[in-house]
């Protein structure tokens, strides 16, 4: 009986968190005019969440592309179909791996940092001080970080994809000796801008929204202690990864079936 009670309580808590997140998102969206009036705040946050993530995103993308290139070539060569390697690398990166892995990396680097920063501001009562000075902390602290995440994510996913495709090219063409023309022509003949590139972008935009929302929500609602910040950062990374994977399944079902 206890077990069923626990499941019921967890389910209720999950629905409650989902509702609180949705209301928090609505609050941020309602503050959009204020955010547009002060774009410098968002630009500043884009530096911390976007620019500082470029290197890890590009390097990870390169290695992921190289691994797909190597594994793909080895397996495809068994069936004498190594010439479709270019298409395989591009399709797997554009449709799935690019948006998903970039979002998970973004969540673990920028998302965790966002939560910690807001959590620390809460712990040191800076958010309270803002309230006292009639400054809305959601508009001043949360919204710029949220919009920075939403804008940065698709750009980072594009950089990840390009680095990955170049990684696949390096392994397939430069290392294993596949013809460069065959590599590109198979890719170009089978990859469609609206189907693959735009759908991938829509995915990364959704993931960016989810990750940024989870990060700022966890930071804003953390227990204002050192341990609370630590737990909130961990929750951000774990929840973001799960949310990204679940969203990916739903979006893939809509877009690619």
């Amino acid at each position: 009986m206890n077990f069923i009670q626990t499941i019921g309580a967890k389910t209720l808590a999950f629905i409650q968190t989902l509702g609180a997140n949705a209301l928090f998102l609505l609050n941020i969206l309602l503050l959009l005019p204020q955010s547009l009036l002060r774009p410098r705040l968002t630009v500043r946050q884009m530096y911390f969440s976007g620019v500082l993530s470029v290197l890890i995103i590009a390097v990870s993308g390169l290695f992921v592309g190289m691994v797909i290139g190597l594994q793909g070539y080895t397996q495809l060569a068994k069936f004498k179909s190594a010439d479709v390697l270019g298409f395989m690398v591009a399709a797997s990166l554009l449709r799935e791996l690019g948006p998903v892995l970039a979002a998970i990396l973004f969540a673990s680097s920028a998302g965790g940092a966002m939560t910690s920063e807001i959590g620390l501001m809460k712990t040191t009562e800076q958010l309270e001080a803002m309230n006292v000075m009639a400054v809305n902390p959601v508009a001043r602290v949360v919204a710029p970080r949220f919009w920075a995440g939403v804008i940065s994510m698709p750009l980072l996913a594009c950089i990840f994809n390009v680095a990955g495709i170049y990684g696949g090219y390096l392994v397939g063409v430069e290392w294993l000796g596949l013809d460069a023309g065959v590599f590109w022509s198979n890719m170009q003949n089978n990859i469609d801008v609206s189907y693959d590139v735009v759908n991938g972008l829509i995915k990364s935009l959704c993931f960016g929204t989810a990750v940024a929302l989870i990060a700022v929500y966890q930071g804003f609602h953390c227990v204002p202690t050192a341990e609370g910040i630590l737990r909130a950062s961990t929750r951000t990374v774990v929840s973001s990864a799960l949310a990204v994977l679940a969203l990916d399944f739903i979006l893939t079902a809509f877009m690619f079936t």
């Binding site: 410098r40 630009v43 500043r44 884009m46 530096y47 976007g50 620019v51 470029v54 069936f79 004498k80 179909s81 190594a82 010439d83 591009a90 554009l94 940065s152 698709p154 750009l155 980072l156 594009c158 950089i159 994809n161 390009v162 495709i165 013809d179 023309g181 065959v182 590109w184 022509s185 198979n186 890719m187 170009q188 003949n189 990859i191 469609d192 801008v193 693959d196 590139v197 972008l201």
Partner: protein, 159 residues
């Protein structure tokens, strides 16, 4: 950090993102590049009854050496043959009686054009059309021929 420096790096980041998006849209999803931007080329045409799985950008080889690439494939509405335009490297002048055949690397590998030089002194010029062509080998057609041959040989004996 100075605000201007910070904004500069954010600008670079946004630019990088858009360049990546441009590369994905044009290079990955549809840019039909030539034989090579630094290579001087001339274009010749060849008509085939069946090109099989030949693709744009497929290699053109002579004696196994890459001499050009397929730049476009169209259907000629007059004779309903596939008109393939080939960009050949200018350092390889072929004679006017050169022949082109669509070949396959391996049993199921990529298809490419094999170009064989002729004996004529006159060289192919930009815009010329090759008259000697061999179409792609389509496995289904071969099997059909084999089966129909086999059946026709078999029929008189059974009668």
């Amino acid at each position: 950090m100075k605000k201007s420096v910070l904004e500069f790096w954010v600008g670079v980041f946004v630019l990088l993102g858009f360049v990546a998006l441009g590369a994905l849209s044009f290079k990955v999803a549809g840019n039909k590049g030539g034989f090579g931007s630094s290579t001087q080329t001339y274009t010749v045409y060849a008509e085939f009854e069946d090109i099989g799985g030949l693709k744009v950008q497929a290699p053109i080889k002579t004696a196994g050496v890459l001499v050009g690439r397929v730049s476009s494939i169209q259907l000629d509405p007059q004779n309903f043959q596939a008109k393939v335009s080939m960009e050949l490297d200018k350092q390889y002048p072929f004679s006017v009686d050169a022949s082109a055949a669509i070949l396959t690397s391996g049993l199921l590998g990529e298809q490419y054009i094999g170009l064989t030089n002729g004996g004529n002194e006159a060289k192919l010029q930009h815009g010329d059309t090759l008259s000697l062509t061999t179409s792609a080998m389509v496995l289904e057609n071969l099997i059909n021929k084999f089966v129909s041959n086999f059946m026709s040989k078999d029929t008189p004996e059974s009668e």
